[in-house]
Symmetry: C2
Subunit: 229 residues, 2 copies
Amino acid sequence: MNKIEPGFGINRRYLHDEVADRMRALIQSGEMAPCTRINEGELTERFGISRTPLREAIKILATEGLLELLPNRGARVASISPREIEEMMEVIAGLEATAADLACLHITEGEIAAIEADHAEMVTAWKMGDASAYYPLNRRIHEAVMTASRNTILASLYLSLSGRIHRSRYSAHQTPEQWTRAVEEHEEMLRLLRAREGAGLSALMRAHIRSKKAVIAASFADVADPAAA
Amino acid sequence: MNKIEPGFGINRRYLHDEVADRMRALIQSGEMAPCTRINEGELTERFGISRTPLREAIKILATEGLLELLPNRGARVASISPREIEEMMEVIAGLEATAADLACLHITEGEIAAIEADHAEMVTAWKMGDASAYYPLNRRIHEAVMTASRNTILASLYLSLSGRIHRSRYSAHQTPEQWTRAVEEHEEMLRLLRAREGAGLSALMRAHIRSKKAVIAASFADVADPAAA
DNA sequence: ACGGGCGAGATTACACGTAGAATTGTGCAG
DNA sequence: CTGCACAATTCTACGTGTAATCTCGCCCGT
């Protein structure tokens, strides 16, 4: 039933947390598509729990923005409008800009070296036009900067937001020109990071993410919410 | 079953939302101090509701970071460490920097005029050394910039975070030198806003909030969490 | 006297019952 | 055939019951 993790302290998790995690996974994997109605009976049976923890999990996911609550009609998976995607990308750009600024204050030489290694590998993937190798490395670099910011609140906010548009973000493909430009920006970002020029890196990071925003928004101009609140 | 308690009024919202709002108010007003244990029985009686919506509200406030969940021991009001305050201030600085950048793109002349009016009034308050008049105006200006960003996700994130440190933020008083500098920064911010220099305003805004961070962190170096997890 | 263990009381986490709103199916009029 | 009204059904929101866990005072051994 309950899995007790080894280690100090109490790692026993709440049932509603477990359920929330599973539902998050279901939503992010696309198994539960946007606008899918949440049926209590179906999910309690599926998870083998009662309705109380399920309902608590629903409330949690609703405050996270993954679900929408419909009064007296339960909940459904939140559908993200292009407008919301744009807004989220701007916020993400701001969070990454902040992370970049802070990273310049706290990052170690070792971390910079690790990023440079990933970057080199990423450039190779770019030269070979291998997007499936490029994207994970790109993501790792951005996450390394986030880690180097030494700010857990920033990181968790970033994780929450980027999780919400994960599927949108990686389903969009940029043109070769955009891709080239992104690589160039990464080069410049590494230079600024090494020089620890926080303000400059911050501004560039914002512009970098913002250019991605346009790509994503364009590719998602169709999946709108037909029944907006 | 239960009749409507006085104080709730006409209730078209969810009970758990209503409860969450009231608890937020209780926490932010300081009526429920950090580390205060949440007693289900006491609060259900106080709010005139049953335990189910109360528990849902608790889960919501926990995901918002206002409460901490203690397995099998309920919840307590989250105590914020100086470290967390610093981290939050950096994130808030980032959000405000983002808002500043976006505001340069979207703000109307009328909104700029309104901010200038508030600013003029604020300068008057500063010259008279009237902090109780200064702070609300200062806050209004920052909120006007946030509104001008035309980004609801950004604004709600900002509201949530700034709500969490509201008491800390306005209990800290800065030195006359810091105050003078803040006013000067506001002058410069207005200039950049008028010129719609997003990048510059963004950087200045970050620095502006960051200088406040130091003031707050210093004044709150004592209210630590005695029982950290 | 002091520390460890035990048990009564208190409190929580979860399961389940109930009333009422929303949805859907059906029959009838136009 | 189509549109509307109404009833049956489904499903949610909230209330309450129950077993398990924690707290804390008390007893007993050393």
